[in-house]
Symmetry: C2
Subunit: 400 residues, 2 copies
């Protein structure tokens, strides 16, 4: 009988706990919870998730944050060895973590460390990111809800600004997105008429010329009476640098909106306000996408199914069928491929054709009338007794 | 036959257009729309709201901002005379404005100016404010939705922080509220357990000692592992000043959260992040309270009914019956009383007993299970031909 441990890591999303609940409801074996992410793994902060604990965890499905605790923690080699030792002592032979790029990198490193230490360890990752920067998967749970937040907030705040144009003329809305612009680009989803905001969207994938942007804002004010601008937190203006401060050795961005607002005021003599969307964009339950919520649950459930299979070193992924109708299936991909893929940027074809991006995005948001979401068939799995062979991602074809 | 003009003024709310639509659907006479608030009134920017324009306006009911435009504009005496002259030339004899304290003050001043100029003018105000600082009325449309936003955002962001406590320990959430703390105090509505956020709420009505607050945060971190703090934008720390910059001659607040976060980092050696809720808190349609939406509509409808009555210089108000059940009726109050009342602070009894405040607040938020909202009976009105006698607020008893 396997002994399984599960943890959550990185920044939370609105649906992070759904994946935990999906996993717990599918698994029919003992589960150990790892508190406070990878730090808890290193420090051996484990809890036995018996029936009463599971029930409490299940009540967290529509609660923000991470029921087990998460957070950022960079492991040293010594930490890795300690983590594997902790798992060995607790006789845990399957490690499941819900997280983003950092988590998948760490899982792969832990798997290698376990091999070196001759410890048998099955490793499975469940994707989670509001940035949507995980490679290989079509998208990741958490993103749909955050994108819905950004799209609605931009539409509503732009309408608010339009009404206030005799008092202030420019709003610079700053979204999350250090290196990728999936979230910032989502801000235009609900725009219908040309005069509505956002008038400009600045992605970290693109070069931005401050002079040209300010001139564009000037023209927009002349044309529409106001200008609504969205910038991803990682955007750098040409000749400038991303505004950052260092927190716990990690660079925390934020401030490009204030920099740009000050520039606009100085250059155009208008009133410009910076508005950083902040933590609510990843935490808001009110903005939660039902589709995203369901998929987060399915990802957790899929991971539980994989525990019984001879698969390790994989991440659960979402595969989308080609075509206008949203059809998807859950599958697996090797952690090596995910890690090698790095931070996935918004593809150029989406940057060049926002409408194609919005067609792709709508079913994940879940409140558009143009999209229908259909749960794909999940390929039948042949479970068998196994000894954790290190198999990379097994690609399955969509059966629809 | 009366000729009626309606405008919207001040900062928008999520339900500002509901009041416009409520008015338009009830009125059966010609209506002129005033564009861009009081500035539009001074500049004579009027539009005839014929059937097709009305239909477009009606489609705006769940759109943020102000369909006619709003914004801030301080009138000089010359502006007042010009505004009255514009109304006279357009043969408008009834002026209706949806707004907050500034709007009610301006309406009263315009009414006096009209008297001095021997212009016959009926003046009616429809309340609107996210701050809930209008005197005389139990509450005002716009507040319930903004309070719902603040309550949900604080709960969700606190849960997010709790999960991130190994990376950051303190979040300072800044709400709107220059001089009154209704919104900031609403942040605690959804808190259930002592360890959940918010752990501290700072209102502008109270004195705050920076040293004591930082010490409280230190104890909260020790106790719970993190500290979630809510500050109203107008809060001043003892010995300090409200952080402000001047925009168009008006002081724009914002920055107390950053000031406090920096202080906490310096004093406690922890990571603290400032998070300003920003314009989405007044604009968000996702956070909109259904009760607030309905009441905004009813306030507009009530104003339309008043047009046919011999009542002027009044604001529509909400009267609430005593008792645990939420029963309310729409009534009127003299603009003189509203203006004399000034900015209404959160009463001391609510500051001292938050649970009493939350019981009062729940029916306005509209998603609590403990409250039922019942539309009160609106007293029967006896309409008659009239020549705009200047009658102050007529107090009616609740009929329930």
């Amino acid at each position: 009988m396997k002994k399984i441990a599960i943890g959550q890591a990185g920044g939370p999303t609105a649906v992070l706990n759904e994946s935990l609940v999906g996993f717990l409801e599918q698994i029919d074996q003992e589960v150990t919870g790892i508190l406070q992410g990878f730090q808890g793994l290193v420090e051996g902060r484990f809890i036995d998730m018996g029936p009463s604990v599971r029930n409490r965890a299940r009540a967290s499905r529509n609660v923000s944050g991470a029921w087990l605790g998460a957070g950022r923690y960079t492991m040293s080699e010594t930490d890795m060895a300690r983590a594997v030792e902790n798992l060995k002592v607790a006789q845990i032979d399957t490690l499941v973590f819900i997280g983003g790029n950092g988590t998948m990198w760490t899982l792969q490193a832990l798997s290698k460390m376990a091999s070196r230490m001759n410890v048998d360890l099955q490793v499975i990752g469940i994707p989670k990111t509001v940035d949507n920067d995980l490679a290989e998967t079509d998208h990741a749970p958490g993103f749909g809800s955050a994108a819905r937040y950004v799209a609605h907030a931009t539409r509503d705040m732009s309408k608010d600004l339009e009404a206030m144009q005799n008092f202030e003329q420019v709003r610079i809305i700053e979204t999350m997105g250090r290196n990728v612009g999936w979230l910032a680009a989502a801000s235009g989803l609900l725009k219908v008429h040309e005069n509505e905001g956002p008038h400009f969207i600045c992605l970290p994938e693109q070069k931005h010329d401050a002079v040209g942007l300010v001139e564009g804002i000037r023209v927009a004010i002349k044309e529409y009476g106001f200008a609504s601008v969205v910038v991803s937190e990682g955007v750098k203006l040409a000749g400038g640098t991303a505004v950052a401060k260092t927190v716990n050795g990690r660079e925390v961005l934020g401030g490009i909106s204030e920099q740009l607002a000050a520039l606009v005021e100085a250059e155009l003599g208008v009133v410009a306000r910076a508005d950083i969307l902040g933590m609510n964009q990843r935490a808001s339950q009110l903005a939660c996408s039902d589709q995203d919520r369901m998929e987060a649950y399915q990802a957790g459930k899929k991971a539980a199914e994989l525990v019984g299979e001879c698969i390790s070193d994989v991440m659960v992924m979402f595969r989308r069928a080609a075509g206008a109708k949203y059809v998807y299936a859950l599958d697996t991909v090797g952690l090596d491929q995910v890690v090698a893929g790095g931070e996935r940027a918004l593809p150029e074809w989406f940057q060049k054709a926002p409408e194609a991006y919005y067609d792709w995005l709508r079913p994940l948001i879940g409140d558009g009338s143009r999209a229908s979401s259909v749960e794909g068939t999940i390929g039948a799995n042949s479970a068998s007794a196994c000894h954790h062979p290190k198999i990379g991602g097994i690609s399955r074809n969509l059966e629809k």
